[in-house]
């Protein structure tokens, strides 16, 4: 070997060093780039009599500074942070919507009941009645607009699920392609790692993880296999699987994810498996917060409408007719969705709400087991409420029955409250039709000689009303302690009844009390409240519904039920926000740990640049000296 060739190895090595440094500098800001380093080694020395003489240097390889474990930490943190980000972006919309001082339900609910009270104070006033109708319209509109907003958010989630799935498919495709190129590269130089390809692939996996939590396994040929959920394959070697966003078979309004294998078969991914990343955030938001909030809103609308109707029907309108429905509840019943995969006989499921106070905000899945037995699962907590038993049954305030003997494995999704808010409508448009008065009135005859007084009377709250409610009934005292009741109605006439002051006397669907000391021949009359336009008894009872605890098994009024939603969503949003912040700092930490190892430091590169430059200059100097030495030899011959 000559001085020239040894110097040349130095020159070459310094050149590779400068190139690598240059590559690092150029990629300082490249996402996912891991800094590269040359590994230099001495050439095999030459044995001479004087011992081993060094033969210069060579570059063994260019390696990337990379730690698999640190990278995985970053992936785990980033998928968590992305999930919380996407959850927070969605829940923030509801969070703002619900408690908005002007757009939330509270102001509309409040002005509605104010209008009811105002009308009860001026029962004969058409403007006050019109005011109540207008406030009712506003309440209906508010329920519908909040529900509409939630439906928009739901369609937004559907659209985003679809686009996330498209992005995931694209990543799967790209990872499979890079896998293929890595196989080719490895074949060309089995011992030399294709650093930049590896970086690119790691970056794709990192980006995939911001969409959905994915794990990778390195195969012997250097390829990555990518799995999601519980080990469902997304990429196997060079084969990408694809995900599909499709309408759920049991709920066409719900876009879910199915995994399609290369041979074309596809399976639905249960929502519990789709965790992490923005897709996981969307799915979790929909099932944990949106469904619940929309159902809870529907439940308030449903209960309010029903309670109001029930009370309204106990009253009498300005024209003396009995009250009808105030709200139109014909469309507000439970939504029952038959699974698209059901086979004949399909069967018919009927759900009637029997107890509004017992309704939950969950949806339910009813599955036929064949042979007239069914299984009913409450989806909020997966409680099995009917376990392979016969129907009808009354559960959670719903009377569920099935007709037509559905085939085994047919299933039905029952959403008792989902459509409550959107289908709310007003049933009356004429202010005269508001039933503010009570349909009966009572009087004591002027000729009475005793001191007995009769109460104003109340209508018993059981519907339908007794057909004889407004028949004239006369209570005649035959002595100070006994009385007869005459008139038309069940159990009438009744004679020789014993008088106890203050006891309820109930006939024909009304209840009255007589107090004091009536004398013999005293007469009390219960009759139709004709022309009772200034009577507000039913109006006052309608107004009292505002604070009556009719929901959650008689523990909550409408507003407290609503504030429960607000608190739930608020708490969830807060939880997501805080978890998101924690994930974010975890991510920052993991990233900085990784960057400490793998990131490019320009000062370091500047130093390296100087180092290799000087090495190059020195090697060049050696060549120049060698040339001088050679010239010395040549000069000898002159």
């Amino acid at each position: 070997m000559s001085i020239f060739s040894v110097a040349l190895t130095g020159l070459n090595a310094a050149q590779v060093g400068i190139l690598t440094t240059n590559h690092n500098i150029a990629n300082t800001s490249t996402e996912g780039y891991n800094r590269q380093q040359i590994i230099q080694s001495t050439n095999t020395p030459m044995f001479t009599g004087a011992g081993y003489i060094g033969q210069g240097t060579n570059v063994l390889t260019v390696r990337r500074i990379y730690d698999q474990q640190l990278n995985e930490q970053v992936l785990a943190a980033s998928t968590g942070a992305a999930e919380m980000d996407s959850y927070l972006a969605q829940i923030g919309q509801i969070d703002n919507l619900l408690a908005d001082p002007s757009a939330g339900l509270t102001p509309a609910l409040s002005s509605f009941f104010s209008a009811v009270q105002e009308m009860a104070a001026n029962p004969a006033s058409i403007p006050a009645r019109q005011g109540m109708l207008s406030a009712s319209q506003a309440l209906v509109a508010r329920f519908q607009s909040i529900d509409q907003r939630m439906t928009e958010i739901r369609s937004g989630v559907n659209a985003m699920v679809t686009s996330e799935v498209t992005a995931i498919n694209s990543y799967a495709q790209q990872i499979a392609e890079i896998n293929e190129r890595i196989i080719l590269a490895q074949a060309a130089g089995p011992n030399q790692p294709p650093n930049d390809l590896l970086d690119q692939r790691d970056q794709l996996v990192a980006e995939l993880n911001t969409k959905i939590r994915a794990t990778t396994i390195t195969q012997s040929d250097g390829t990555y296999s990518v799995f999601i959920g519980n080990g469902q394959p997304l990429v196997i070697g060079t084969l990408p699987y694809s995900m599909k966003a499709v309408a759920a078979p049991d709920d066409p309004e719900r876009i879910v994810v199915a995994l399609t294998s290369p041979n074309g078969s596809s399976v639905y991914m249960p929502e519990s498996m789709l965790t992490g990343g923005s897709l996981g955030g969307l799915i979790a938001f929909r099932s944990q917060s949106l469904d619940d909030a929309q159902n809870a809103l529907g439940r308030i609308a449903l209960t309010l409408a029903q309670n109001f109707n029930d009370q309204h029907q106990l009253g009498q309108d300005l024209d003396g007719d009995l009250g009808g429905n105030y709200f139109d509840t014909s469309l507000m019943g439970a939504t029952i969705r038959s699974n698209a995969n059901n086979v004949a006989p399909a069967g018919t499921v009927t759900v009637a709400i029997s107890d509004y106070g017992a309704l939950t905000t969950s949806d339910y899945r009813l599955t036929s087991n064949g042979g007239g037995n069914y299984t009913l699962v409450r989806l909020s907590d997966n409680a099995v409420l009917v376990n392979n038993a016969a129907l009808p049954a009354t559960i959670d305030g719903m009377a569920i029955s099935v007709a037509g003997g559905p085939a085994a494995n047919n299933s039905y999704l029952i959403q008792p409250t989902r459509g409550g808010a959107t289908n709310l409508a007003l049933a009356i448009g004429n202010p005269r039709d508001i039933a503010v008065a009570a349909p009966i009135r009572t009087s004591a005859a002027l000729a009475n000689t005793g001191t007995g007084g009769i109460s104003a009377g109340t209508v018993n709250p059981s519907l339908p009303l007794d057909a004889n409610l407004r028949q004239t009934v006369t209570i005649t005292f035959t002595s100070a302690t006994t009385y007869d009741v005459t008139g038309t109605g069940t159990g009438l006439p009744a004679t020789g009844l014993t008088y106890t002051p203050g006891d309820d006397i109930t006939y024909n669907g009304w209840t009255i009390q007589i107090n004091g000391a009536p004398a013999a021949n005293d007469v009390f009359t219960i009759e139709r409240n004709s022309a009772g336009v200034a009577d507000n008894r039913n109006g006052v009872l309608l107004g009292a519904l505002q604070t009556k605890s009719t929901m959650e098994g008689g523990t909550a009024n409408y507003l407290s039920a609503y504030s429960t939603i607000v608190a739930q969503i608020g708490n969830k949003a807060r939880e997501v926000e805080i978890t998101g912040q924690a994930q974010q700092s975890l991510l920052e930490q993991a990233q900085s740990t990784r960057d400490q190892l793998s990131g490019v430091n320009l000062d370091e590169e500047a130093a390296n640049l100087l180092r290799y430059q000087q090495a190059y200059q020195a090697a060049a100097k050696v060549i120049s000296i060698a040339t001088t030495l050679f010239d010395e030899i040549l000069a000898l011959g002159r």
Binding site: T106, S114, N529, V533, S563, A573, R574, E588, S598, A607
Partner: protein
């Protein structure tokens, strides 16, 4: 520790971002004056604020209802005050009518004024509020409650004023637990008034030939009177100086010797009546349990007595009895009006105390609401200033650090 160049930029930007978001949040709080911008800021307080707001709204509604109640009661009170004044005049006229020296034309002129008073009374009883709803018609607000004329009432002895309303009492919810009565039915104010002395009413038979005058009687032992089985009694004069007291089955339960002005005791009744003058044999005076007689009927009876006015001894005696009855019945009617007025007065008092309770409660709600959602400005502004300084420091230090590079010296 090894630092990569991107870390300097990433960390710097991330920190500045964090500062910005905190600063923005503070700025929004200061700009809106609200501590809770979205429920997630403080879910428990946000939900509680909704409930307190509802309670406060309901209280505001109660305050409105209280005003409505006050104005309705005030209106009724005004009518009843006028009625009270009118009774004073009616009694004055009745006393005047009782003056034995009045000529027939004097009686006519009193009757003439009383007829005018009758119309005024009818007007008061048919009073309506600003929205045309009658005050004293019970639930039947659009129905004019009272109808009738003096002549109609006097045509048949048992004819009462026509009442087209009902017994209903309008109520308003003036607090969470109180439904306040804001109207009184016409029957209660004008009609359900016991005649006579409140226990029984006396009368003379139209066929009496003597000049006996019966007073309204007096009950000294109400328990005994109430316990009396047969309260429909007659005092039959068997001669000018003797009488029998008979019950409704014409059984004689007592007899006595008549002396003008000496109370005649009702056996076991705890009561007595006084007859004055000179009743003739065969004259009958009756005692019946009091029944309701409207103030209209009382007034019409008086007018009838004034207008029928003969001057014979018998007619004078009947006239004197009628004046006595009228005075008693006006007293009872006045008592009834006063009873209603005092009820209205106590309801208005209750409204006033409810109003102050309401205001205290409202203040508490506002306080609670303010504690729940209002911003502590002093703290927020100091926080804002501090954050501003923090952000500036972060920005400046970032600018300084990011400019450091070995390449600067190449």
């Amino acid at each position: 520790m090894r630092i990569s160049t991107s870390m300097i930029f990433d960390t710097g930007v991330a920190n500045i971002n964090k500062q910005w978001s905190q600063l923005l949040h503070l700025q929004q709080q200061v700009a809106s004056g609200r501590r809770i911008l979205t429920p997630s800021d403080d879910p428990v307080a946000a939900a509680r604020a909704l409930e307190v707001t509802q309670s406060s709204d309901i209280l505001t509604q109660y305050a409105t209802n209280q005003q409505n109640a006050t104005s309705a009661l005030g209106l009724a009170e005004t009518q009843l005050t006028s009625l009270n004044d009118m009774f004073a005049r009616l009694k004055e006229l009745t006393v005047q009518a009782g003056n034995a020296t009045l000529s027939a034309s004097d009686r006519q002129s009193i009757a003439f004024e009383l007829r005018a008073r009758f119309d005024e009374l009818l007007g008061l009883a048919n009073a309506a509020d600003g929205q045309g709803q009658y005050l004293f018609s019970g639930f039947m607000g659009s129905t004019k409650p009272f109808a009738g004329t003096v002549d109609q009432l006097n045509a048949v002895a048992s004819q009462e004023i026509t009442y087209d309303g009902d017994d209903g009492q309008r109520r308003l919810q003036v607090s969470a637990t109180r439904m306040l009565e804001v109207s009184d039915a016409g029957t209660d104010v004008f009609m359900r008034i016991k005649n006579g002395n409140g226990y029984f009413a006396t009368n003379y038979a139209g066929t009496n030939n003597g000049s006996g005058i019966i007073d309204i009687g007096n009950v000294t032992d109400p328990a005994a009177w109430n316990a009396l089985a047969d309260k429909n009694l007659s005092i039959n004069f068997t001669s000018a100086t003797t009488y029998d007291i008979v019950d409704s089955t014409s059984t004689v339960i007592a007899s006595g010797t008549y002396q003008s002005g000496v109370p005649i005791a009702i056996p076991a009744g705890g009561a007595s009546v006084i007859i004055t003058g000179a009743p003739a044999s065969g004259d009958t005076f009756t005692i019946e349990p009091s029944s309701s007689q409207s103030v209209f009927k009382t007034l019409a009876n008086l007018i009838g007595a004034l207008e029928s006015g003969g001057s014979s001894a018998v007619e004078s005696a009947q006239y004197s009895s009628e004046i006595g009855f009228a005075l008693a019945n006006f007293d009872r009617a006045n008592d009834n009006i006063l009873r209603v007025r005092s009820m209205i007065g106590s309801r208005m008092n209750e409204l006033e105390s409810l109003d102050s309770v309401n205001q205290d409660l409202q203040l508490q709600y506002q306080q609670t609401l303010s504690n729940l959602q209002d911003l502590d400005y002093a703290k927020a502004i100091s926080d804002l200033t501090r954050k501003q300084t923090d952000l500036q420091a972060a920005q400046q230090s970032f600018m300084k650090i990011s400019q450091l590079s070995l390449f600067n010296y190449f």
